[in-house]
């Protein structure tokens, strides 16, 4: 039976939400079991814990009509029952079988609804039957029966995600994004209110009647700040959401690379914005892959240099005053300084910086990879410039410290909360700017005679309204004027105000991370922040509200403007 004709097929999301963490926990426990058995620890408490969770996943899968998952869970249960009864059967091959099954179960659950997995499940079932036969016991019914007599109380501690049914609501994360955007709007509007109020104050002086207004403005600011904190809080998830897959990943990588590696994680409970977490997984996987494949030496080399055969990779997370620090460190060979020097010179870069906390930052430069070995896993050593770019795109930083012969450690610093604004990237005179989409009413291709001059200011008819149009180059003070006429104009809007801005190119939409303005930049009128674009260049974020306020000051009609507008 497939899930098509199942009464509960609409509950697929709920199934995944419930069973994926359970399956991942099962898989992790199997990896842990394998590691324990390898080093001679019996780890007796793990098997009963896993069996309980397997039972749940099996039952849930059966209810949903998801036979492959049910079969795999059942097969794993059989193996666990056998291993509980026959301690002698515990070893390399049984552990490997469990780990394989755990991984398979996770994959099946994660892709539940896609309808495949039948062959993989059947193949695994075969392997398990072969194993059980080999151990010499006949089927699982008797063993299961004997086991169940010991009582059905589940001893495994409940994991995250099992809050009381009544306190939790399900919300599409995109709604939280919208909420954040709207909040951002509110904060900008609030600044406008603040500004206007202060201007009024300067004009009118200290009026008693204004003290109420004053109190209200101050209170509003406090409320906006609190709202920001609460909204940010709804988006927070523990970083273990991302860390969860890593033990298995490391185990698989180590297996293929024929090394022994142990991953130690801590700080999994550290909360982070889901938007960042979603994009953090990939760069971390790259770094882990590099560490296992290139950072750690082979078993023989390690032993020869007096290190334990098993390499250790530490992954630690902690939050510090509004930022989250993540350290990924291995105890491998560290960076080959000679190779780095050579490669740096070949690329025309400086090999070592002055900053001792990040001396080898050059390894993050594009095209920099000294790994000669082309391995199936990591290619030529996954480009660290890609990793750096991802981290920067999140508003974070990454540094590296190498101790030759002792290991390599990466320190990532990421913002705890993220202000992301979906923006339109425009180009004026080869300079790029970001304009928050919420303030762009429309983008229009500039027709030859669509823009006229009234009172020496550009105007055009847009959707039946007469709106002013300013030249982007003039408004933004670009230094190198392009000669060809501007091809587009964008309509900037806020509230009821509208204004056109002539630009050369529309680059595209991008979610940009807003970074504040350095105090050294003073108080530019038209710029509200800066961001780093996808190509690594810094771009200013335009302050639409302020631009709309300007009474076209700074955009007087000059001969050049005329020419451009009527071209």
């Amino acid at each position: 039976m497939t899930s098509e004709d199942n009464a509960f097929k609409a509950l697929l999301d709920d199934y995944i939400v419930e069973c994926l963490p359970l399956s991942e926990r099962i898989a992790d426990q199997f990896v842990e079991l394998e590691r324990c058995w390898r080093s001679g620890e019996p780890a007796d408490e793990l098997l009963p814990a896993v069996k309980g969770t397997l039972h749940t996943v099996k039952g849930n899968s059966a209810m949903m009509g998801l036979t492959p998952m049910q079969d795999v869970a059942h097969a794993l249960e059989d193996v666990c029952v056998l291993l509980t009864r026959e301690p002698d059967a515990r070893g390399e091959s049984s552990a490997a079988l469990l780990v394989e099954g755990g991984g398979l179960l996770v994959d099946l659950v994660r892709t539940a609804g896609a309808g495949d997995g039948i062959e993989a499940a059947a193949a695994f079932g075969q392997r398990v039957r072969g194993f059980l036969a080999q151990v010499g016991r006949n089927g699982s019914a008797a063993a299961e029966h004997a086991d169940r007599r010991k009582g059905d109380r589940r001893s495994a501690p409940r994991g995250p995600g099992t809050e009381a049914a009544g306190n939790v609501v399900r919300v599409d994360f995109r709604q939280l994004d919208t909420l954040l955007e709207v909040l951002g709007e509110g904060m900008i509007e609030h600044s406008a209110v603040n500004e206007a109020y202060r201007r009024l104050m300067r004009r009118v002086g200290e009026l008693e009647e204004l003290s109420d207004l004053d109190r209200a403005v101050v209170a509003l600011e406090k409320t906006m700040k609190r709202m920001e904190a609460v909204v940010m809080g709804t988006r927070l998830l523990p970083i273990s959401t991302v860390f969860g897959r890593f033990p298995r990943l490391v185990r698989d990588l180590a297996h293929t690379a024929q090394k022994r590696v142990r991953l130690v994680t801590s700080g999994g409970e550290t909360p982070m914005d889901k938007a960042i977490l979603d994009r953090l997984s990939e760069p971390l996987i790259h770094l882990l892959t590099n560490a296992v494949v290139h950072g750690l030496e082979s078993r023989e080399d390690r032993v020869r240099s007096g290190k334990p055969e098993e390499g250790v990779i530490e992954l630690r997370a902690a939050s510090h005053s509004g930022r989250v620090m993540i350290v990924l460190a291995d105890d491998g060979r560290g960076l080959d300084e000679a190779k780095i020097q050579a490669k740096a010179e070949a690329l025309g870069l400086e090999a070592a910086g002055v900053d001792s906390g990040n001396r080898h930052a050059v390894i993050f430069a594009p095209g920099f990879s000294t790994a000669e070995q082309v391995s199936s896993l990591a290619g030529r050593g996954v480009g660290l410039d890609v990793v750096a770019r991802s981290i920067h795109g999140l508003g974070g930083t990454i540094e590296v410290v190498s101790r030759p012969g002792q290991g390599l450690s990466f320190t990532l610093s990421l913002p705890l909360t993220l202000a992301i604004v979906r923006s339109l990237i425009i180009e004026v005179d080869r300079e790029r700017f970001a304009v928050p989409i919420s303030h762009v009413a429309e983008t229009v291709r500039a027709e030859a005679d669509a823009i006229h001059e009234i009172n020496r200011r550009g105007v055009t008819l847009w959707r039946g309204d007469l709106i002013h149009v300013a030249d982007g180059g003039e408004l933004l003070g670009t230094t190198e004027r392009a000669d060809s006429p501007r091809r587009f104009y964008i309509v900037i809007s806020s509230g009821a105000k509208r204004r056109g801005l002539m630009v050369d190119r529309l680059i595209g939409h991008q979610d940009v991370v807003v970074k504040g303005l350095d105090p050294a930049l003073g108080h530019p009128d038209v710029v509200s922040g800066t961001t780093i674009l996808g190509d690594g260049r810094v771009a200013c974020i335009l302050d639409a509200v302020r631009i709309l306020d300007q009474r076209a000051a700074g955009a007087p009609s000059t001969g050049a403007t005329e020419r451009r507008m009527s071209a």
């Binding site: 400086e350 910086g353 002055v354 900053d355 990040n358 930052a361 993050f364 750096a388 981290i391 920067h392 508003g395 974070g396 930083t397 990454i398 540094e399 300079e431 408004l475 933004l476 003070g477 670009t478 230094t479 970074k515 350095d518 105090p519 050294a520 930049l521 003073g522 530019p524 009128d525 038209v526 710029v527 800066t530 780093i532 690594g536 260049r537 810094v538 771009a539 200013c540």
Partner: protein
């Protein structure tokens, strides 16, 4: 006051100062990173220098103060880049392959200073340093904390804190 006043002052110091070389006992010293701007040598304390980087893309910021050349991406951090030349009344510099940005830091605040070339790190005995007198200093030059004679050259010492405060 202008740059010429400053140079005249520097020349007078050069004439008055005793030769520095050959002193037997090294007294307290200033550790400086020296760099060139136009034809002059400047220096900043080495412990305020975070790093020295090549000049990549500097994004202009509309309506920023004139001495701010723009902002740059320093490994994910937005770095404001300042050009002292304009403050000194010099024209904005033309970038050359030797141009560099000296990234300075005090108490967490970080800023980039665009220079024509980085010279070397030197140790200057404190006695070779003379504070700039008031009549030479002006709002344009108040971030100069003194001049130092070193190896028959003159190094103009920058007060990095004042540079960080450049804000109008």
């Amino acid at each position: 006051m202008t740059r010429d006043d400053l140079l005249r002052f520097a020349d007078s110091v050069a004439k008055d100062a005793a030769p520095a070389a050959g002193t037997a006992v090294p007294g307290p010293e200033l550790h400086l990173v020296t760099f060139a701007l136009d034809r002059e040598d400047f220096g900043v304390p080495v412990d305020q220098v975070r790093e020295i980087i090549r000049v990549g893309e500097i994004t202009r910021v509309p309506q920023a103060p004139a001495h701010v050349r723009g902002v740059a991406n320093l490994r994910g951090r937005i770095l404001a880049v300042v050009e002292i030349r304009t403050r000194l009344g010099l024209t904005p510099g033309v970038l050359s392959p030797r141009s560099r940005i000296i990234v300075v830091e005090i108490e967490g605040r970080v800023l980039g200073i665009l220079v024509d070339a980085v010279l070397q790190v030197v140790k200057v005995p404190v006695e070779a340093v003379t504070a700039a007198p008031d009549e030479v200093l002006s709002p344009q030059t108040d971030y100069i904390s003194g001049v130092a004679r070193w190896n028959s050259r003159l190094i103009i010492l920058l007060d990095v804190e004042k540079v960080l405060l450049l804000n109008d």
